[in-house]
């Protein structure tokens, strides 16, 4: 089976992200593979192990995103492709989906494309379904488990109301959630292989695509309203006394 895992690079979750002069700053925090996309790589590798085949990590992003792809290689992906082009500085999710679909077609022959649930930075969670729609492939979203059986795939979708089992013919687009299993750590051998790997960089013309004009654009960036976070520690002689005082505070909030 030929599997593609789509990954993005984002500032680390621990980073102190701020708006400074209309721009986003994350200080000297590192850029990392989008944590949700580590699950995508994990899901893809599990399928490779179950059915044989290859995993290709695919990213649309700047040159620096090589490091995120190297993380996927170190985890066990067989190869990686970076789509990078100066014309792609402003991408909304639909634009990203069109470029990803063009790259997926260029790679060719994929049976399954695995996505993360959402990005940490934009957090839209739209790209997987939009890519599926552009490709005309079935969308199996929020999979907590994946099972492939002779040309078809069954996933267990983790939704608000429980778990739904859905089946489709391959090729299909799948997005995964954390129930897929903890992402494996890169092995020593994997890290060595990744550090030596040559990652091809494709421009838009390499994938026969033109720069999609963004439809959704940012007009303003804001820091969240500062909230009154001075904590009042409730103390007392006994748990009962503390509870008594805390209960009064709760009732004073008038939320019951």
């Amino acid at each position: 089976m030929k599997i593609i895992a789509c990954i993005k690079q984002v500032p680390d979750s621990e980073a102190k992200v701020k708006a400074e002069g209309g721009k986003i700053s994350w200080g000297d925090s590192p850029l990392v593979i989008n944590p949700f996309d580590e699950y995508a790589v994990e899901g893809a590798l599990q399928q490779k192990e179950a059915t044989g085949g290859t995993v290709t990590a695919l990213c649309v992003g700047p040159e620096s995103a090589r490091d995120a792809l190297k993380h996927a290689l170190a985890m066990g992906a067989d190869d990686a492709v970076l789509v990078s082009d100066a014309a792609l500085a402003e991408l909304d999710t639909l634009g990203a989906a069109r470029v990803l679909a063009a790259a997926i077609n260029k790679i060719g022959g994929a049976d399954m494309v695995v996505f993360g649930r959402q990005t940490l930075d934009n957090g839209a969670g739209l790209t997987p379904a939009q890519t599926a729609r552009v490709l005309g492939w079935p969308m199996l979203g929020l999979a907590g488990s994946i099972k492939v059986d002779s040309g078809s795939v069954t996933v267990e979708r983790v939704i608000e109301e429980g778990r739904q089992t859905v089946n489709a013919k391959l090729p299909a687009v799948i997005s995964v959630v954390q129930s897929i299993g903890e992402p494996r750590y890169p092995s020593f051998m994997g890290i060595r292989k990744a550090s030596k790997a040559e990652i091809p960089v494709w421009s838009l013309s390499d994938i026969n695509a033109t720069a999609p004009a963004p439809i959704v654009t940012r007009t303003e960036l804001m820091n969240p309203p500062t909230r009154d976070t001075t904590v009042e520690i409730i103390t007392g002689e006994s748990p009962a006394e503390i509870a008594e005082k805390l209960a009064d505070k709760i009732l004073a909030e008038k939320v019951l």
């Binding site: 969308m139 439809i215 509870a243």
Partner: protein
């Protein structure tokens, strides 16, 4: 302005933020509710009662189970024929896909998790959190219709007027299904964290009570029972940290945080939760946070309004008792 409002439901159970979306649509002008599925008359009736001017029902066996493709195609066709300015959705797992796909069909954009939507001339400006709520952005969509999914509890729920009616129209279904639903297992506990006004959450701390002399998992069951009793006296929902979910104390459906549910309750009580940044990411919109933790240096106290430095196995049941008395329960 004309707005289509997609009423999201699962087997007839409506996601409450659908009505919040309907209220928002009404504040802009004409609101047309879309109800897809089979046997959905009761939902159509409720849509009128919550303020819809018109309800378009697409009742077709192809739409019995939610499936992304036929739902999206049906929506796209209705949007093409009725040319709305705006399509609103409650932000749920289904609408993310549905809006995403229809936007491809309609060559327009989707703005997700909107917390505020203003009209400025003929432009709609949406505010939404990015970077796990560490920042907010205002965005605009240059194509029509604008599509937006709204966060639960970000907009007021409109009042329900019994037996109010309006124009009921039948719509046609597109039946281009390419997936099959083979089964469904309801979550063990019915959790509705997204629209809960009060949430009491437990973390790894619920498994820490050596005096019980039990193993970790059994201790955690006792701990979560205390959390559940507090939630119950407050009429709230039960949440959890990822550490508690990963350890198997409670299902994933209860997880609050970056990889779980982002919540916006009036009151959030964290019991035995350290307050890792990924947990905080899920509770930034909570109005009042109360932390109960043994460790005075736990980061959760940095976002809390009230805190108790103590053992949850003592404080939580005492609090439940105190509230029971004060509330006359």
């Amino acid at each position: 302005m004309k707005t289509l409002v997609y009423v999201d439901h699962f087997k007839g159970e409506v996601q409450p933020a659908s009505w919040e979306a309907l209220g928002l649509a009404k504040s802009f002008g004409t609101a047309v509710a879309l109800v897809f599925g089979t046997g959905v008359d009761a939902i159509a009736k409720a849509a009128f009662e919550f303020g819809a001017d018109e309800v378009i029902v697409v009742d077709d066996s192809a739409l019995t189970d939610y499936r992304a493709e036929p739902y999206a195609s049906t929506l796209s066709a209705l949007a093409s024929s009725s040319s709305p300015d705006l399509i609103l959705f409650p932000a749920t797992t289904r609408t993310r896909e549905l809006a995403a796909m229809s936007a491809v069909d309609l060559s327009t954009g989707v703005i997700t998790d909107v917390t505020s939507l203003e009209v400025n001339g003929d432009q709609l400006i949406a505010t939404r959190p990015i970077y796990e709520g560490k920042l907010f952005e205002k965005t605009v969509c240059s194509s029509k219709p604008v599509m937006a999914t709204i966060r639960g509890r970000a907009f007021p729920k409109p009042a329900q007027t019994a037996d109010k009616t309006g124009t009921l129209t039948k719509g046609d279904a597109k039946t281009d299904a390419i997936t099959t639903v083979q089964g469904y297992a309801a979550s063990e506990s019915k959790v509705s964290l997204g629209d809960a006004g009060i949430i009491v959450s437990g973390g790894r701390g619920v498994s820490n009570n050596p005096s019980l002399g039990m193993d970790e998992k059994s201790t955690a069951q006792v701990g979560f029972e205390l959390v559940r009793q507090l939630a119950s006296v407050l009429g709230g929902a039960v949440g959890a940290s990822r550490a508690a979910v990963d350890a198997g104390y409670i299902p994933y459906a209860n997880q609050v945080g970056q990889t779980g549910k982002v919540v916006a309750p009036d009151l959030y009580i964290a019991c035995g939760i350290s307050g890792a940044i990924q947990h905080i990411a899920g509770i930034r919109s909570a109005k009042t946070v109360i932390a109960i933790n043994k460790d005075a240096d736990a980061p959760i106290f940095k976002v809390a309004r009230y805190g108790v430095v103590g053992d949850l196995f003592q404080i939580v049941p005492a609090l439940t008792e105190a509230l029971k008395k004060k509330l006359g329960k």
